[in-house]
Symmetry: C2
Subunit: 341 residues, 2 copies
């Protein structure tokens, strides 16, 4: 709404002003993931009104990739009969280290991209549009805080369980950045000091190496390969049927004991890492998102058992451990939320 | 200084007003520990100008104990030629759960004290003096942030290693309370999931059970008892010489191998717990206080080795891990700092 309309002058507006006053404000989100990029528009209540998706190609030039996102964003605006004037701003998630104050992607390990000036690139196209850049998991935490179940807690831990595992800390309603923008690395806390599996980060025994989607399917693949007579190998037709965290969850739900065990083992390790966080910063809740959160029923009780063993104080033992209500689009809502004060 | 003096009317002040204007402001600190209570006065720069000490008697009525602290405080004021008008306020540390907003001690497990209205009790004596109450370890973290090495970091972890182990988180220059005033329980994060020793909290494998002053002397006592021919048993004359964290440190410094091993083992466990904190909230430093911090040289390299193994990113691997510069009086400075905005 224009200032004049806000002041009660709506009746005296020109036709052009009336058109301006009809713009619905949207926050744009660009969620650059390791395998796909989502672009969408959310209203002020955090509802995604439209979105488009295209693959993230690590071989691609980062600026060419951002140009594709700009095209997708224009298509989204067009589909809603809106244009760039409708934009409150553009929030961009990057899958790695971000420098929010400079509006830069610092380093995205999986993509191999370094020092991409996201804000200045987008503002070359649209000079007056605010652009915010954040680490994708921190953006999810912020989106959950503003529009998800996080709004009920002053402090919570956000955890994305997907290909890898990332975390975001919200303390007193603010996402904690850390001294070097590295806070929330729950995927790399040690959950097994003695027989830890190797992690992509170079250490052994990290949570990510034991409980990510990748770790879960790797554990299943080992059983299928080494125990061809097992129920799990038979379920997956000895490797003929596609193995993923999702298909393994289906196996567990159909009673395949090795699949149940693998999910419970992952829950045990998640419980260990959660117990550290709970004791250290006493959050009001732990909220889980990412693809593997869709199988939460398969590992919730293991998490709860270990958390009960591993934390001090009854308040901590009964902490809510829940999944995001924002679903598949949590990261896109998180990106859009970056420009919604 | 009186309001009139601040307004530039010093020359017209009465003799009584002139006397008032000469008061040096002091912050009082009352540090109620599990075994002793320290009472003192600090100037605005956090320097303790005078202090007194008396035993904390768990059998004592909490209000009778506070009365003794009031007497000690009056003696401190008298010794400096000051009186109650000099006081900026009184900060009180309690060895347990505090409710800072209500000014209450909620529960001090070691003393068995519950629901002590510290603020209202002290304000009955001195109605106009601000009184703040905090958990002792959180107060230490705050004192370190205002007056110690913590002032060089926006975020740090404070760790007290003493009879037990406690922690305080400072994030963006604020001590983090947590959802139930329970943040900072680093003494109760698990450092050994498989063969953990029993902890006073009821769990097994907590840091406190493996690396506190109590744990260190317990480990030494076991060696002395079970290996009477060992260098350690000989050093302690098979139990005839007093065993403490301090005397064990002396043994280690004199080259007794079992004493060296015990301190290094404690460092290993401290490194595990620190690695969790570093990955989770990426502090600028870890600052250690408490009696066992005096033996930091004996376990520093073990901490550093494990932290290097257990954290992601070079920034985290090289985090400063240092001891408090406030020494023995860190907790008293922390208490006084509670009333120094």
């Amino acid at each position: 709404m224009s200032d004049r309309a806000q002041l009660g002058y709506a009746k005296t507006m020109s036709a052009a002003e009336q058109k301006t006053s009809e713009y619905t404000p949207y926050a744009a989100g660009i969620d650059i993931g390791g395998t796909k990029t989502l672009v969408g528009l959310a209203d002020r209540a955090g509802n995604v009104k439209i979105h488009r998706q295209f693959p993230t190609n690590p071989e691609s030039d980062p600026e060419a990739h951002l140009l594709k996102a700009v095209e997708a964003l224009n298509l989204c605006l067009g589909a809603l009969g809106a244009d760039i004037k409708s934009l409150i701003g553009i929030g961009v998630n990057v899958p790695g280290l971000a420098d929010p104050s400079a509006g830069k992607l610092v380093f995205a390990p999986f993509l191999g991209w370094r020092n991409v000036n996201v804000r200045s690139f987008l503002q070359e196209k649209w000079p007056e549009i605010p652009v915010e850049v954040a680490n994708d998991v921190n953006a999810c935490a912020g989106g959950e805080q503003k529009f998800g179940k996080g709004k009920y807690y002053d402090s919570f831990l956000w955890v994305t369980i997907s290909t890898g595992i990332g975390g975001g800390l919200v303390i007193n309603n603010e996402v904690v950045a850390g001294e070097h923008q590295l806070a929330g690395e729950i995927g790399h806390v040690m959950v097994d000091w003695d027989k830890g599996l190797p992690c992509g980060c170079g250490n052994n025994g990290c949570l990510e190496a034991h409980a990510s989607g990748t770790a879960i399917t790797r554990a299943a693949a080992t059983v299928i390969r080494n125990e061809p007579e097992s129920s799990l190998a038979r379920f997956f037709k000895n490797g003929q049927r596609e193995l993923s965290a999702e298909s393994l969850a289906n196996a567990a739900r159909q009673g395949v004991p090795e699949a149940i065990d693998i999910y419970e083992q992952a829950g045990t390790y998640l419980g260990r890492a959660f117990s550290y966080c709970i004791n250290i910063f006493n959050p009001g809740a732990i909220i889980i998102g990412g693809g593997v959160s869709l199988s939460f029923d398969l590992y919730e009780s293991a998490i709860r058992r270990i958390v009960t063993e591993g934390v001090i104080d009854d308040c901590n033992k009964t902490i809510p451990i829940i999944t995001t209500g924002l679903g598949y689009q949590a990261a896109l809502v998180g990106a859009a939320s970056l420009v919604m004060g």
